[in-house]
Every structure is written in structure tokens, then in C-alpha cells.
Point group: C2
Chain length 263, copies 2
């Protein structure tokens, strides 16, 4: 892969997709539910995924595509080059707010993240990372994350993880909420991951994310020193849904040891 050439291509592709999404605000959006009443999908999620797939198939034969809406390939292993795409990460925000959603895209080769993109469509803000080439917020290089500690941290997490749930001891999460400086929740994993990479959040945790939610962000986060794993501390799963944490390296292990306890 010529990462430099692909990076230029992808930036142009993402900006064109963003333009299509912003244009859709002028027309009616069709909304359906997927797994449950609050798991929304719109015609735009589908159209944007198909837009990407068409271009990728035309210009990168042999590359495979793993997309949220399922129009890509049936991915059972991480061999070769795979594009992991969430055309609209934060669909609920897209529907209710017409903002605070992102295009999330990661390019992996044999399971190794090479290029990562998170595009905040409405603000026209692009975060991107190139393996061993640094991470960027638009044209500004993101700096390595600075040392921090739990008591001065801002942690992004959904309130549903602080109430009794089937995955985690919520009492430990309650202690986390008490120990940190503050918690936040945007409702877009990609944007929350972009905030960790840019040092605006110190950690982001979720019980349940899919590969396309995190693939782009992981490449960006790694370039600034953030650690991304599942809750066992293992590398995040690129093939199926799993737990997920992205954190400042100074607090990643402490978060896992002290606050995240499986049921």
C-alpha cells in the first residue's frame, strides 16, 4: 500500500461523502429501527455506505469492506486489506440533532491498522492518523498525550453503564464516576474516541462496540500514545462486537484493574 496516495484519495472521498450527508438535511430522511426501537438506521446510512463501496470496488480491487450496514463483504478473518466503515456513527444524533455524528473509517492490513479517519461532518472537522506517521486534527498535528491521573480525568461513558446491567458490576463504575473529575456522553463512539486522541477526554469506555465503530479511531489514538483494548486488556476485536476502552496510557491499567469488573 502507498499510504500517502491512499490517504489523499480517502480524504477526498470522505469529504465528498460528508457533502452528500449535509445535502440530505434539505430533504426528508427515512428512519427505521434495527435490533430495537432505539437502534436507528436511515436511508443516508445505507446510501453513504453504498457510495463508499462503489468507489472502493472500482478503485481498489482486492480490498474487502466491513461496513455497519452490511453491504460490504462477509468478513471472517483479518487477511489482506480491509476497510472498516461506519458511514454514520451516531445515527441517533444524526436523526435528532443533525450534528454530533461522524464518518468512521479504518484501513487495516493483515489486522494491523494503517490509516484511520473520523470526520465530524457538520463541523467539517477531520481527525486522521497514519501508522507511524502521526495523528492530525485537520492540518494540526496532535501531540502525544500528557501524563494525567484518575482524579483529574474526564471520562466519556454512557449513563447506561452506571446502572444495573448484565455486563458489569455497576458499583465499580459508580466509584469511577465519584473518583474522576467529570463524565461526558456524546452518543458517537467515533467522536468520543477522537476526543481521547486529542486529549480532550482522558478515557472512553463502552460495553459493546463493533469493529467499524472503533477501527478508524484506534489508528489515530495509537499515534498519540493512547491505549485501546477490550476490557480484558487484549487488542480490540476486528471481527465482532466486544467491550472497548481507549485511554491515556497513564490511567488505562488502573481503569481496568480498579473500575471494570465483569459479572
Amino acid at each position: 500500500m502507498d499510504l500517502h496516495a491512499m490517504d489523499r484519495y480517502i480524504k477526498s472521498l470522505i469529504k465528498e461523502a460528508g457533502h452528500r450527508i449535509r445535502n440530505s438535511f434539505l430533504t426528508d430522511i427515512t428512519i427505521e429501527s434495527k435490533s430495537n426501537a432505539n437502534d436507528l438506521v436511515t436511508n443516508m446510512d445505507k446510501e453513504i455506505e453504498q457510495f463508499f463501496i462503489e468507489r472502493i470496488r472500482r478503485d481498489f480491487s482486492g480490498h474487502r469492506i466491513f461496513g455497519e450496514e452490511g453491504f460490504g463483504d462477509d468478513i471472517q478473518n483479518t487477511k489482506g486489506i480491509i476497510w472498516l466503515l461506519d458511514p454514520i456513527d451516531g445515527t441517533m444524533n444524526f436523526v435528532h440533532q443533525k450534528r454530533n455524528f461522524a464518518i468512521s473509517l479504518g484501513i487495516y492490513e493483515d489486522g494491523v491498522g494503517k490509516l484511520g479517519y473520523i470526520y465530524d461532518v457538520v463541523n467539517d472537522d477531520l481527525y486522521h492518523g497514519v501508522k507511524d506517521g502521526g495523528a492530525y486534527y485537520n492540518n494540526e498535528k496532535l501531540r502525544p498525550l500528557m501524563e494525567t491521573d484518575i482524579s483529574e480525568s474526564i471520562v466519556a461513558m454512557n449513563a447506561t453503564w452506571a446502572i444495573p446491567n448484565r455486563y458489569l458490576e455497576h458499583e465499580a463504575i459508580i466509584q469511577l464516576i465519584r473518583d474522576v473529575r467529570g463524565t461526558r456522553s456524546f452518543g458517537s463512539a467515533a467522536l468520543e474516541l477522537a476526543y481521547v486522541a486529542s486529549g480532550r477526554f482522558d478515557a472512553y469506555i463502552s460495553m459493546r462496540l463493533s469493529p467499524w465503530d472503533i477501527a478508524g479511531g484506534m489508528v489515530i489514538a495509537k499515534e498519540v500514545g493512547a491505549i485501546t483494548t477490550n476490557f480484558k486488556g487484549d487488542p480490540a476485536n476486528l471481527l465482532k462486537q466486544d467491550t472497548f476502552i481507549a485511554a491515556n496510557p497513564a490511567i488505562h491499567q488502573e481503569l481496568l484493574n480498579k473500575y471494570i469488573k465483569f459479572k
Copy 2:
């Protein structure tokens, strides 16, 4: 009061203050704690409040000022014209993120909100409302809030209210989290209130807010039909800290009746 002339004056004043805040990103910010280690204040909170006070005293003699940083007047009643000002609402975001904070300003006459402003400084987005004159997002008029119900609502609230706390039965809040479509938390009461007024959130609740946090937003919210009260359903207190809810009129009463139970 000539609301139209004051509105023009205030918009110019707020934009100038915003410019000063954005410029401060180029220099070092001094950070201190107030009531506790996580209650931050910076030199900019103080400088911006003093900037407003100087202009108000020069150009509106007789008006009183009730500001978060305490450089204004000692306000014990709501008589006459009072400017309620939070120079930087969301100071923790200002410090950690350099975004997601706002200037919040409300002008009240004998306790009645006349003008309200929430300025998202970094995005240069101004929300404002004029009593009986409508609410605006920049130059776009905000529409009256549409009918909704709890199950399709997005509610802004801090996760600290979902865990055992001294104010509320948190079990009822847990039920609320289960019943709504989603929860969010930005860490700026003013911006969360602006989101309620623009229909992007359906409600915002907090156990503890000060008059300057909500004064501007209440004027804006009222113009689109949102209801703002304390948790007892009484008008929000303009003189001291209190509980607070801003909600779509279709769900305000149900939120109070079913989910908000004082200890």
C-alpha cells in the same frame, strides 16, 4: 427598555467577549479551584466577567449585575433590571477541551426574562431569545418544539444523578435512563439548555444550578414552548441555587411526576 436596541448592543458585546476568550488560547491560562478540586475557575472567567461589568456600568447605569465570579452586585431581590451572567459556562471543558463552553447571559426586569443569550464561543454559534419575539440560532428562527414522548426522548443529565446521591431517589433516574431513547452529557448547562431550545434534546435536568447558568437559556427556551421549572414545578429561582429542569412541554409533567423523587 428598548429591547431591540439592547439586543443589538448585547450581541456586539458578546461577540467581543468571545473574541477575547478565543485569543486567550494563545496564552497561558491560570487555573484555580473554588468549592472543591473539580470546581475550576480561570483568569479568563474573571476577566470576562469584569469586561462585561465595566461595559454595563458605563452604558446602563442603574442596571444590576449578578455574575458567577462575584464581581457584580449583591443581589437579594429581583427588582429592576438585572443582567445574569456566566462568563464561561462549562469551565472544566474550557480548561480540558478548549471547546464546549458558552457565555450565558439573561436580562430580567422585575423577575421577568426579557432577553437571553447563549454563545458557543469556539463554534461562533449564538442562540438568543427576545421575550415574545422568538428564539434564534444565529439568524435562523427556532421552531416551536414538536410533540414527543418519553420513549423517543433524548435527555441530557450528568451521570452523577444516576448514582446514589443526597438529593434524589436515584432508582427513579435509573428507570428514566431505561425508558428514554438516550442520554447525553456535555458538561455545560447553557449549551444543554440551548439544545433543548433547538429540539436536539427533549429535556435537561440538574440537581444544582445557579441563576446565571439558566437565566439566558430560560428566555430562549420559553420562546419555543419549552417549560423550565425547578423539580417541584415552580418557576426557577433567580436568586439562589436550585434544582432545574427544562423540557419539551409534552414530557415535562411526566418527568416530574414519574422520575424525579426527592429524598
